[in-house]
């Protein structure tokens, strides 16, 4: 059942992505100011939005683990964080490419870029520490703790980058200002959907792997304990 769902989501996500890419490259007109490169926004922004969705899911799963001690929640948490970290990386890389094209530099210590990079580093720490903890219950508990602490940092990072001594270069968010032309809105929404479907499929794959890993670990203990 789970396997079928994974495949279904994966295939559906791929189809939406392909359809969307076709529209983006085939049908959409170039943007007046930026030319061709503006099309990266249909990957760049959906990646960031989906990363936030998966990180929030991981936070909920982490709190649920501490409350319920059910390892399913720990697996959800790590799967979501892995996918979210990958999406953050995608967001950073596409942003960097766009910046090189438009600003002539790969990287600027701009407030949005800095905050995304910090977010990426926070969760990278989570993924690095996890394998260092050998005992599964301890690993899950400590991971839940780190996940909660890391998520609490996100609003603080957003606050910190608004300090007067931090400079900005990034264009304003089109979603907040609402001046995304109607012709772009469809591909934009499909971009979010495609990455969400693909991300969820990956989460399901990782969930399955984590469950198997726990079973193997417990069988090994059973075998070696008496």
């Amino acid at each position: 059942m789970r396997e079928k769902l994974t495949y279904a989501l994966g295939i559906l996500g791929t189809l939406v992505m392909l359809f969307n890419l076709n529209t983006i490259f085939g049908d959409l007109p170039d943007e007046a100011m930026q030319g061709t490169i503006f099309r990266i926004i249909f990957i760049h922004v959906p990646a960031a939005i989906n990363a936030d969705i998966f990180l929030f899911a991981a936070l909920c799963a982490s709190v649920a683990f501490l409350a319920k001690k059910n390892f399913l929640y720990d697996s959800i948490s790590v799967a979501c964080i892995e996918v979210a970290t990958m999406l953050l990386l995608l967001n950073l890389v596409t942003g960097s490419i766009w910046g090189r094209n438009q600003w002539g530099i790969w990287w600027a210590w701009d407030l949005r870029m800095t905050s995304q990079l910090m977010c990426f580093l926070l969760y990278l720490g989570y993924l690095l520490v996890r394998p260092a903890i050998a005992e599964p219950t301890q690993r899950a508990t400590m991971s839940a703790f780190i996940s909660i602490f890391a998520f609490a940092d996100v609003p603080l990072v957003l606050m910190a980058i608004r300090l007067p001594n931090v400079k900005t270069q990034h264009p304003g968010p089109v979603l907040e200002t609402g001046n995304l032309a109607p012709v772009y809105q469809g591909p934009f929404a499909l971009g979010i959907l495609a990455l969400f479907l693909l991300g969820t499929a990956l989460v399901l794959v990782r969930l399955h792997q984590e469950t198997s890993r726990r079973e193997i670990d417990s069988l090994r203990r059973e075998l070696h304990s008496f």
Binding site: M118, L124, G125, A134, Q138, M142, A150, D153, M159, I161
Partner: protein, 228 residues
């Protein structure tokens, strides 16, 4: 509640007492911060203006490096003879153990900071004493933040392989908002730039919010980490 605070006080006193007796992390941290100060002076060859512009960042980099060394020992100090088991099985609640250790780490880090501050002024020829009250407030706020988050992660990493390496990997990204606030205010206090001085309020606010969030979160959650 009162018994908890008494226990926290006893644990803080114990940590300070043993540390002042052995001076393990204190000397290591202090000499490390002096070495970094010297290294930075070789690394950057700066004019007076530029030096003042980065002075806050310089100072807080040194302090956060020193802080990692201090908090690393916090829970590690309980490992020999399984002392942590005795603390946890005692009636002292988890938050009291955490609070006691954080207070101790705060004072140890404060000692390191206040001793290395004159050296910083001396090496870089920076007049840091112009508004001592505000500077002390900034140092208190940021040091408490480093101590809280650091001791919390010291509890998380106490039983894992490569503890000394893992702690900074987790700690520094988490501290960035706090350090940004501290760096901004400290630079403003050193340069006396009127514009920067005026906008100091938001940085101090940020540090207070950071401390409130992480102090309450840690006190609430630490019981789950200590008793797995």
């Amino acid at each position: 509640m009162r018994a908890g605070f008494a226990a926290a006080f006893a644990i803080a006193r114990k940590d300070l007492q043993t540390e002042l007796r052995t001076r393990e992390s204190l000397t290591a941290s202090l000499s490390f911060s002096l070495v970094i100060l010297v290294l930075f002076s070789f690394a950057f060859d700066l004019g007076r203006e530029e030096l003042y512009a980065i002075s806050g960042g310089l100072l807080w980099l040194v302090y956060s490096f020193a802080g990692a060394l201090i908090v690393n020992r916090s829970f590690a100090r309980e490992l020999p003879n399984d002392c942590l088991d005795v603390l946890v099985s005692s009636p002292a609640p988890g938050w009291a153990i955490f609070l006691g250790k954080t207070v101790a780490a705060f004072f140890l880090l404060l000692i390191v900071e206040l001793v290395s501050l004159p050296f910083f002024g001396l090496f870089y020829n920076i007049s840091w004493w112009q508004s001592p009250g505000t500077l002390l407030l900034v140092i208190f706020l940021a040091t408490w933040g480093i101590a809280v988050v650091g001791v919390a992660f010291s509890a998380v990493t106490v039983n894992i392989r490569l503890r000394e390496l893992m702690l900074p990997v987790l700690l520094y990204p988490m501290l960035i908002p706090l350090l940004l606030g501290a760096i901004g205010t400290t630079t403003a206090l050193f340069t006396r730039d009127p514009e920067a001085l005026k906008s100091m309020g938001s940085s101090i606010q940020l540090m207070i919010v950071f401390n409130l969030i992480y102090t309450s979160l840690s006190l609430y959650i630490v019981e789950f980490i200590l008793i797995v």
